[in-house]
């Protein structure tokens, strides 16, 4: 089988798989989109506590890792650095290949510095519950990374569905599409 043909087949498989997931979760996705849009608007207006509530509801409706980034930003703006660090670390754990990973790590470093500067007792965020209690480290399991990849892809597509052009954020003046 040639590589291009293999790729086409695989793409078809993924599309079918995610389409099934999206179809099955459609009400949740709609709810997530609604809360996400509200959160974006509130965040823009600087109402971070209300935005946090909406992002959390979006995450409840559809636990996409990207929402954790937004939740972390709210905590950060509210001055709750410990919670912000927790959310950002959790985000990176669930989406280790996030394109903004480097930026998030910088933010985490900054927040930890601020915590130290404040003299607050720095608490490490509680580790995420291990998916399996096995002696072999979970990150050495093949299925872990594959699963993360699929979750990441599903998450990416989920966010894409939440924010795609048929649902731009609620703004006064609309959306500008700056095509390449």
């Amino acid at each position: 089988m040639t590589a291009p043909l293999l790729r086409v087949i695989c793409t078809f498989c993924v599309t079918l798989l995610l389409a099934g997931v999206a179809y099955a979760e459609e009400p949740e996705m709609r709810s997530a989109k609604r809360h996400f849009d509200r959160g974006q608007k509130l965040f823009t207006l600087g109402k971070f506590d209300e935005a946090l509530d909406e992002y959390q509801k979006a995450y409840d409706a559809s636990p996409l890792p990207d929402f954790l980034y937004n939740i972390g930003q709210c905590h950060r703006n509210l001055g709750d650095y410990e919670q912000a660090i927790f959310s950002f670390k959790r985000f990176l754990q669930l989406d280790p290949d996030a394109p903004n990973r480097e930026k998030v790590e910088i933010i985490i470093d900054e927040l930890e510095d601020k915590l130290e500067h404040q003299g607050a007792k720095k608490k490490d965020p509680p580790p995420p519950p291990p998916p399996h209690a096995e002696s072999t480290p979970v990150y050495k399991k093949w299925w872990f990374w594959t699963g993360i990849a699929v979750v990441g892809v599903a998450g990416g597509v989920g966010v894409y569905a939440v924010t795609r052009p048929d649902g731009p954020p609620d703004t006064n003046l609309g959306n500008i599409v700056f095509t390449k």
Partner: protein, 509 residues
């Protein structure tokens, strides 16, 4: 096909073939108080060498407003430039931000644009066309709530002096003299085309004074004329004669805290002299006129007050001399005193003074004595209330002019918090790329600059010259002569103004 193979393919396919995540940047646009009447936002996006411009209807909503940007397939920096346009498509505010495409939000602050002050557009209108008298043509109420620009038109004698009043955001204010928000004449007896107005505000009253020459009796009816307007824009019935000196020129006014004013001017009485009087809020004489200068060939006076003290600064033989007085026009020294002397290579051509804390700020403009031309240097000297220099001189600019006109006068003002603004024009090689341009630079009370010098007009076509500046609470207003012939005044020169904020000065935009 094994499970591992399927999932591996899924990963590869997803990374290679699925579309990139399409996210949105929410851009929040806010505007300075002086940005108003926006009907359209013109948004220009730039990324990787490409640009896109959209016009977004603004409607009647207040700032802040938001719009979103999606840029599928794009990465890296995103430039966002926003212009606010009024119903006629004229620029009323502009701002820009640079962001990256992986952030959620961006903010753009619209700074105010310049606007036309005069309401009669035929032929020329300007604050001053006397190269010695620029810088005295705008004043503001002590609380900065309103400001008034003085100007005249291109008259061929007889001529009138005019004014127009605005609020601190640059909206025109209704006055009783105009019975509208338009400009209005201040003179009630015509003068000649050599007259140039000066203006100042104390308490609720503003006075405008000018070197007066009756065109019907130029050799006998001359001197300094003055007229006041109150907070409602109601004027005294007639202009009042402050002095009948011959060959008057370059009038400068400063307010006292008690509501009176000191008016100073140049005259020729066997030699060039500086004369001054103290007038009440209705321009009637309280004290004087009397002669300030005691050294021959004195010219180009500038006055400022701190408390009950007046500083008179003027040019004599390429240097600056001073004298101090009080609210009754009584001088504190028997003669004028040397403040700065010319050097072997440089003369001082112009001096401008402003109150600064408990003392004064003295700005001087140097030029090469061999040519009286630039590029020249403007310096700031801080002094005590008695004229003792504090600290070392501060360099304002080395690009204050490269032609004769720009070698001369300029405008200065200080706010109650000690922030100073100096504004000047410069031409030729030091112009703005389209003829002459107007520049400004702000300083803190201790003389440290607030950013670099920056271009003040947003309309830079053609020449912009002859600026004046006044304090507006947290901002300054600058007015100047504009030869852009841009709408709404496309006939000859106009007077334009712009509200400038200190952070704007620091940012240089």
């Amino acid at each position: 096909m094994s499970r591992q193979f399927f999932l591996g393919c899924a990963l590869l396919a997803a990374l290679g073939a699925c579309p990139a995540q399409d996210s949105y940047i929410i851009v929040t646009v806010t505007g300075r108080a002086a940005v108003h009447d926006v009907k359209t936002l013109k948004v220009t996006l730039s990324n990787s060498g490409t640009m896109r411009t959209d016009e977004l209807p603004f409607g009647e909503q207040p700032f802040p407003v938001t719009f979103s940007v999606s840029a599928p397939g794009r990465t890296g920096d995103l430039g966002v430039s926003v212009e606010g346009l009024d119903k006629d498509g004229l620029l009323v505010g502009r701002g820009a931000a640079t962001s990256t495409l992986d952030v959620l939000t961006a903010d753009v602050l619209l700074e105010s644009a310049d606007f036309v002050i005069n309401t009669d557009f035929a032929d020329d209108q300007f604050p001053s066309d006397d190269y010695e008298a620029h810088g005295f043509q705008v004043s503001a109420a002590p609380d900065g709530s309103t400001w008034t620009a003085a100007y005249r038109d291109r008259c061929n004698s007889p001529c009138n002096m005019f004014a127009r009043r605005f609020d601190k955001t640059g909206r025109p204010v209704q006055t009783k003299l105009a019975a509208s928000t338009n400009g209005f004449p201040m003179s009630t007896t015509p003068t000649t085309s050599v007259s140039t107005p000066a203006i100042a505000t104390a308490g609720n009253n503003t006075i405008e004074a000018w070197d007066f020459n009756d065109p019907t009796a130029m050799t006998t009816t001359v001197g300094v004329a003055c007229r006041s307007i109150d907070a409602t824009g109601q004027g005294n019935p007639d202009q009042i004669t402050v002095a009948t000196d011959p060959s008057t020129d370059v009038v400068s006014i400063a307010p006292f805290g008690n509501g009176n004013f000191v008016v100073a001017w140049s005259a020729f009485i066997t030699t060039g002299v500086i004369r001054a009087a103290v007038v009440r809020s209705d321009c009637t004489l309280l004290a004087g006129p009397s002669t300030v200068s005691t050294t021959a060939s004195a010219r180009k006076v500038s006055v400022a007050t701190v408390g009950t003290t007046v500083m008179y600064a003027f040019v004599v033989d390429g240097g600056v001399r001073m004298r101090f007085g009080n609210t009754s026009n009584v001088f504190t020294s028997p003669t004028d005193l040397q403040f700065l002397s010319k050097t072997a290579t440089e003369n001082i051509e112009s001096v401008r003074v402003a109150p600064l804390g408990t003392g004064f700020a003295v700005f001087v403009r140097w030029a090469l004595s061999a040519s009286f031309m630039g590029p020249g240097r403007i310096e700031l000297y801080r002094t005590s209330a008695t004229g003792a220099v504090l600290g070392t001189p501060v360099l304002v600019s080395t690009k204050s002019g490269s032609d004769f006109g720009s070698s001369e006068a300029f405008g200065v003002a200080s706010r109650s918090d000690g922030v100073l603004m100096v504004t000047w024009h410069s031409c030729l090689t030091n112009g703005d790329g389209s003829g002459c341009g107007v520049w400004g630079r702000a300083f803190r009370e201790n003389g440290t600059p607030v950013g670099d010098e920056f271009t003040i007009p947003t309309t830079t076509t053609g020449d912009q010259t002859n600026p004046s500046v006044a304090p507006l609470g947290d901002a300054f207003v600058v007015v100047w002569k504009d030869d852009s012939a841009q709408a709404p005044d496309v006939a000859g020169s106009a007077i334009r103004g712009r509200i400038i904020y200190p952070t704007q000065a620091a940012a240089g935009n």
